[in-house]
């Protein structure tokens, strides 16, 4: 039976027909996705050849040991995991986020790369971004109108805040906490705090989904909506502490801690003080 069908198809088609159809299909879907997807835009950075070359030099010194000399990624010996993933197609936005927040280069391999002081300056970061952007199309670094809450018109501001807040509470607080103070994830990983993070970096994080974070691509969350979320996060930061000291804004756990340490601790101290001040203590005076 198998022999029969093989003989029949061999009669009908050229041996290369399958491969050609596959290639045509790939070309078609790739072309459609390239034209429809706004996130995968060619980057201006990548067209600056001098910058790309400078970035490549930096990359070879600081990044290649984990990501490979051509950013193709380095697989561990057992083949199961990677020292560093391939950077082809991650885009300039991912590089800008990882490098400018100090997450890359990583100081030591651990569950998660923590935020730390940036190693590269702004110029070098741009060069690295340009180099990685030149490897393949990916999300580009956003412009300030895209992420800066200040660019929201005044008459739309309130509506933006409410919309951004609703999105934040539905999609972000589960990991990042209601006040953006961060939360734990399994296996030693965590959602970092959002306090004091640049609007640009929050935007890039949503766009590229670094580490444990899911990607909120522009199809899922339009650039204006990302800006709304950032506006809400920033408004939390700008709010005065209405209730007083927030104790880390971690919820009832820190409230309980302060209740016991300061509240009950203090009151027991007062009880000791009151009990020590009576007629009794006067009678004890040296005879």
């Amino acid at each position: 039976m198998r022999f029969l069908s093989a003989r029949l198809s061999a009669k009908r088609r050229s041996p290369l027909a399958g491969v050609v159809v596959l290639l045509m299909g790939l070309l078609f879907t790739g072309g459609v996705s390239a034209t429809l997807s706004s996130a995968v835009a060619t980057d201006d950075l990548a067209s600056d050849q001098a910058l790309v070359d400078q970035g490549r030099q930096l990359f070879l010194v600081g990044c290649a040991s984990c990501h490979g000399r051509n950013a193709e990624g380095v697989v561990t010996q057992d083949g199961d995991s990677q020292y560093g993933p391939s950077l082809v197609g991650v885009g300039a936005a991912a590089v800008d986020f990882q490098v400018a927040t100090g997450r890359m280069p990583m100081a030591n391999p651990s569950a998660q790369a923590p935020r730390k002081p940036a190693v590269y300056n702004e110029e070098e970061t741009r060069a690295l971004s340009a180099y990685v952007a030149s490897l393949g199309p990916g999300p580009s670094i956003p412009t300030s109108e895209q992420y800066d809450p200040a660019s929201i018109p005044d008459d739309e501001r309130e509506e933006s805040l409410v919309r951004g807040g609703e999105f934040f509470r539905t999609n972000c607080t589960a990991c990042h906490n209601f006040d953006g103070s961060g939360g734990a994830l399994p296996g030693g990983k965590y959602a970092p705090t959002l306090n004091g993070v640049d609007a640009k970096h929050i935007y890039e994080a949503m766009l590229t989904g670094p580490q444990q974070m899911p990607v909120f691509s522009d199809d899922v969350l339009k650039p204006e909506e990302k800006r709304d979320v950032i506006a809400y996060v920033k408004s939390l930061e700008e709010n005065p502490g209405y209730g007083g000291f927030s104790m880390g804004a971690l919820g009832p756990v820190s409230e309980g801690l302060f209740g016991w340490l300061i509240g009950i601790g203090g009151l027991v101290g007062f009880a000791v003080w009151i009990a020590a001040h009576t007629a009794k203590s006067e009678k004890r005076k040296k005879a």
Binding site: L185, S246, V253
Partner: protein, 576 residues
Amino acid sequence: MSSIQTNGKTAATATKPSKAGAAATWVDDRVGIAGAAKKNIRKVFPDHWSFMLGEIALWSFVILLLSGVFLTLWFKPSMAEVIYDGSYEQYRGLHMSEAYASTLEISFDVRGGLLMRQIHHWAAQLFIAAMFVHLLRVFFTGAFRKPRELNWVIGSLLLLLGILEGFTGYSLPDDLLSGTGLRIADGIMKSSPVIGTYLSFFLFGGEFPGDVIIPRLYAIHILLLPGLLLALIGAHMMLLVYHKHTQWPGPGRTEQNVVGYPMMPVYAAKAGGFFFIVFGVTALMGALLSINPVWKYGPYNPAEVTAGSQPDWYMGFNEGLMRIMPAWEYEIGGFTLPLSVFLPAALLPVVLLSVVMFYPFIEQWITGDKREHHLLQRPREAPNRTAFMVALMTFYGLLWAAGGNDILAVVFRLDLNQITYFMRVAVVVGPVLAFIIARRWAISLQRHDQEKLLHGYETGVIMRSPDGEYTERHLPISEAEAFTITARDREEVPALTSGEDVNGVPAPTARKDRLRARLQHFWYADNVQKPTRAELEAARHHAQHELEVHAGEEHAADGHQFDGRHDIHGEELRKH
């Protein structure tokens, strides 16, 4: 007040009564308060800081009543949907329940509203925390023994009601944490076999969340539970007056008397002053420390949840139990048995509370001690009791920490999974270790007491004998201290019974008797018994002799002036 002067020379003359006296007479003529007041204003209370812990709870409760009344003036217990139009910019135009909207209004638009909310919430945390420390004090000192067992049971009920009152209050604002907490409560109810779904259905008036739970909780929170709490607090305090307060042993203090100060004026001033201190601390915390910032949590939405979703501290142990519980779930004949919820959240808290509530009766059964006790014990004098509570505290504390496992992971950069694995083992091993350590520790302290009684205390004075030997001088402790230490009873260690009579016939209660005898043996056998009169006298004689031997020695070296046998007034080390 009228005063009568009788110096034996001039006739007694009544002076004109003061205004206060006249008013008091007016009232006394009509309701006869003098009889009650005469007895009660002279009521004597012993003085010790640890006797004031329950007072913290009492005053917190008063603050809760006062601030709670204020909040009811503005809070709207309704789940009707409204569109927010208040001062908080981030939510203007958002749909929310009336309960949440009115909580925001209290926080941002009512003068002093946020302060009152925060005072109310802090006072609630302190109320329950104070009940806990009060419970620990009563437990560790054995103040729950006859005749106070019933008051202990009332106290345990107060603790339970206080926790329920706290939880209902936590649920009222209808913010994200409220709703998350209620969802868990709903899940716990539903985990009970057979009745679970009915319970949940009746409480929520249908499927969760429905639109009746907030008004219902409101009625429970401001009417039912406070009423019960007030009544039980009244009973608790009336029993306290009736039994009279326990006291520490000491010279002049016996099982038959109470040594202390009268209600008027000493305790009226102390307790009244303490109210203002508690109020002051609560007000300061309310003013300076943000508690339950509902505007950050947002209105309840079943699709949302936030990191750092925890109950208030008193439910933390329950939360911890659920967080570390392995996912045990079985299906029997088409019915799901969610043991991973039912065991930790419904069954274990009930068991734990029952053990605490009935502890006085359990201990009484083991020791067979049915006498009245008005003198307190130091924790070391009942090593097993002390160790039992230390073990319970360890168990509770570990679960408490497990309830905040995500916060621990974030703040101390730990692995969430490893915390969970650690806790699963620690809640079993920890209490056992704690029991053994606390028990041995208490017995060591008993031994230390024994040594002080028989050999005196260590003076810190090092003596060098002519042949070069160094010794530390021990001196007898004062009579008062010796009296205090020896105020406890000598304990008879019972012989283990076989439960059979001389003819080898087992008693009908043989099994029970044997168990009880074994427990009794464990309870007393390792204790260090206080010395007998003869032992004490021998020790005293020996010490006297020691002092006489060294009485005539001249000491040239510096420091001997502090050997305890000289008046050290004005003495100092000689300058070289």
